[in-house]
Amino acid sequence: MHWAHKDLLDVSDLSTGDVERIFEAADSFLEINRRPVKKVPTLKGRSVVLFFAEPSTRTKTSFDMAAKRLSADSFSLSKSMSSLTKGESLKDTVLTLQAMNPDAIVMRHGVSGAAQFIAERLNCSVINAGDGWHAHPTQALLDAVTLRRAWSGDFGGKTLLILGDIAHSRVARSNVNLLTRLGVNVRLCAPRTLLPPKVETWPVEVYSDLNKAVKDVDAVMCLRLQLERQQDGLLPSLREYSREYGLGKRHLLNAHGGAVVLHPGPINRGVEIASELADMGESLILDQVESGVATRMALLFLFLTRKDQGGERV
């Protein structure tokens, strides 16, 4: 079956059928990743540029490993290495990269819309690895892969709470978009200053009281709190934030039995999540990392083989 998309800018680009294909491919790569020999020749001879204009060891390593396990060549370019620091425009930087004929550019950028900006100007596939506050589609997909395994493939009727700085979170935006479409009831909880304007138009329930928000949920996704939100005047102090909105073990007592905890990482222990909670059996934080590699393998596979006749077999 033909993969119709050139780029992955946001999860809203994907149909439910597309998402199913990603899930199936991710499942098979998860299985491969647990074998002693993890490398397959699927993307041999293809090249992927990892262009991270905003630092992120975690996501970059995940993509790098995904590419290498599929035998693609990956090349890294960080902002400090690129000419961006010398005042070159984003357009010129990516046109330079394109002239080297990569098959895909994976880009992380601090500005919303940057992925769309370069996708409109390049012939190769662009995979958005996070743009500003806007979208982080691969994170939302790997979160869905993780939850799907935890919930034995059934999203229907499940309730997820996303807790923390929603306003400035691309993870929250993409997760709300994807998981609500898959049938999950999504709740948001944050102080008003960390909720986006007109959040009432989102397909979610909004809470400002964590104790009420966690009642009967099946999963809680904590978001990383950028410590500078205090300087921005959005919070009085980190201490007060962690007391009101830091997820602790006691909160989970009101959740459904077997409720799980997610976090896109890196975590601020003791700020948005109690340290002990991050290490508990209910925590899926490390499962997310594992699913992350498999999900990105699935995406690289689908996007890089999109032009092949009939596609290749995994």
Binding site: L90, S112, G113, A114, Q116, F117, W133, H134, P197, V199
Partner: protein, 422 residues
């Protein structure tokens, strides 16, 4: 009675074919066409063109000195002339800032060299030195040099006490203070309305409350000081409702808006379109309807372009990094005529807002076609529709969300002080 220098023959004015007699740079007479004209007087056939008073733009950015690649005084006046403008007021946010007489004089010299017969340039004095909001400029001196108004446009004065002093001091010299209508702390330069769209796109938005707060401050000060303040580029319902109330109570406040706030909503920035990034941002349809009504009722006094030219490469960056602004001189009059055609504005309102009121507010020449008025007028050909394309714009700035749209006609001729400029 002596003979006119020339006669415009058969131009359409309020639905009637008229002859316009011009002598010594002034209107001599306007009368139904067909009367006898003395031998030897030049007759210029209007060929069905509409006769309009020439426009005044009280808010443009000409970018010289300092940013000549975006626009310079000569290219800005070229766009103004072809746009039908007889008078232009240019803002002070150049580099160096127009906060010294030497800068004002340099601007005026450049204008006279490039366009000795007009359009007339009236630089706006920076209200504070370097637009830093700390120290008043030498406004008396700058007024004598030719500045009719003073403004920190783009960087509103945050310190209300200093702003009060500025308004009072400027009034001493008959200068009007123009205030950029945004609370400077509430998302300066955001370029997108705060709301559902900004949330979805993940952009920091500028709320209408930030605009309304600044307008409220200015209304309270204008009332308290009983001194005029002019509010720049109003974009939202909340602001016009307060202005309407203030005017009803006789507060000496005036206001302007731009064609894009009458024609476009925030949807124009969908897809991160930097051509529609403007400050204050495009708002919702409810705001657009409020702005239209306010203009028709005279609550908003004048139209301006807020002409803000930028080079293509400066706008071809991700949205958050793009500069705010729309290049407006080339399209202002055609867009206005489109709005008249569509019944959004009536012709009388358009003429009041582009010609008569700006002259009254800032003390500039204008043309009401009465005997003795400066012969500043436009012949507008409604049959010459054109598509907005970069090569057809006279401004160096091709940054407009109206690119590719068809304009209903264009300026055939512009006369300033009885001289044909275009």
């Amino acid at each position: 009675m002596s003979n006119p220098d020339f006669v415009i023959r058969g131009a359409k004015w309020q639905g009637e074919a008229m002859d316009l007699l011009v002598a010594d740079g002034k209107i001599m007479e306007m009368r139904p066409t067909g009367g006898s004209i003395a031998e030897g007087v030049e007759k210029i056939p209007a060929n069905g063109a509409l006769l309009l008073p020439a426009l005044t733009d009280a808010h443009v950015h000409l970018r010289e000195p300092g940013f000549e690649w975006k626009e310079d005084i000569a290219s800005g006046l070229l766009a103004a002339a072809h746009g039908g403008f007889a008078n232009i007021m240019c803002m002070a946010n150049t580099d160096p800032v127009n906060d010294e007489v030497s800068v004002t004089e340099m601007m005026l010299d450049k204008a006279r060299l490039a366009w000795p017969d007009g359009p007339r340039l009236f630089p706006v004095a920076g209200l504070t030195k370097g637009l830093k909001g700390q120290q008043l400029t030498n406004l008396a001196e700058m007024h004598r040099a030719g500045c009719k108004a003073a403004s920190n446009d783009g960087l509103p004065v945050h310190n209300t006490e200093l702003f009060r002093n500025a308004v009072e001091y400027a009034a001493n010299w008959g200068m009007v203070v123009i205030d950029h209508c945004e609370d400077p702390d509430m998302a300066p330069g955001a370029g997108v309305n705060e709301g559902e769209l900004s949330s979805r796109l993940g952009l920091k938005g500028a709320p209408t409350a930030g605009e309304a707060i600044q307008v409220a401050r200015d209304i309270l000060l204008a009332q308290y000081l009983d001194t005029p303040i002019h509010v720049a580029h109003v974009s939202c319902r909340q602001a016009v409702e307060m202005l309407a109330d203030a005017k009803r109570r006789g507060v000496p406040i005036t206001a302007e808006t731009c064609p894009h706030y009458l024609l476009l909503t925030e949807d124009a920035v969908e897809g991160y379109d930097t051509a529609a990034k403007v400050n204050p941002p495009l708002r919702t349809m409810d705001d657009v309807l409020a702005i239209r009504q306010a203009l028709n009722e005279g609550v908003i006094d004048i139209l301006v372009t807020d002409h803000a030219p930028h080079a293509d490469h400066e706008k071809e960056v991700p949205f958050a990094e793009a500069p705010c602004g729309i290049s407006g001189l080339d399209t202002a009059l055609p867009l206005t005529m489109r709005m008249v055609d569509e019944g959004i504005l009536d012709m009388e309102t358009a003429i009041r807002a582009w010609c008569l009121r700006p002259a009254e507010i800032f003390g500039l020449p204008s043309c009401g076609f009465a005997a003795g008025d400066s012969a500043d007028f436009v012949l507008y050909d409604p049959s010459a529709s054109w598509e907005v394309r970069p090569e057809l714009m006279r401004s160096k700035g091709k940054n407009t969300p109206f690119m590719g749209q068809t304009m209903p006609g264009r300026v055939n001729a512009l006369f300033v002080g009885g001289r044909r400029i275009v």
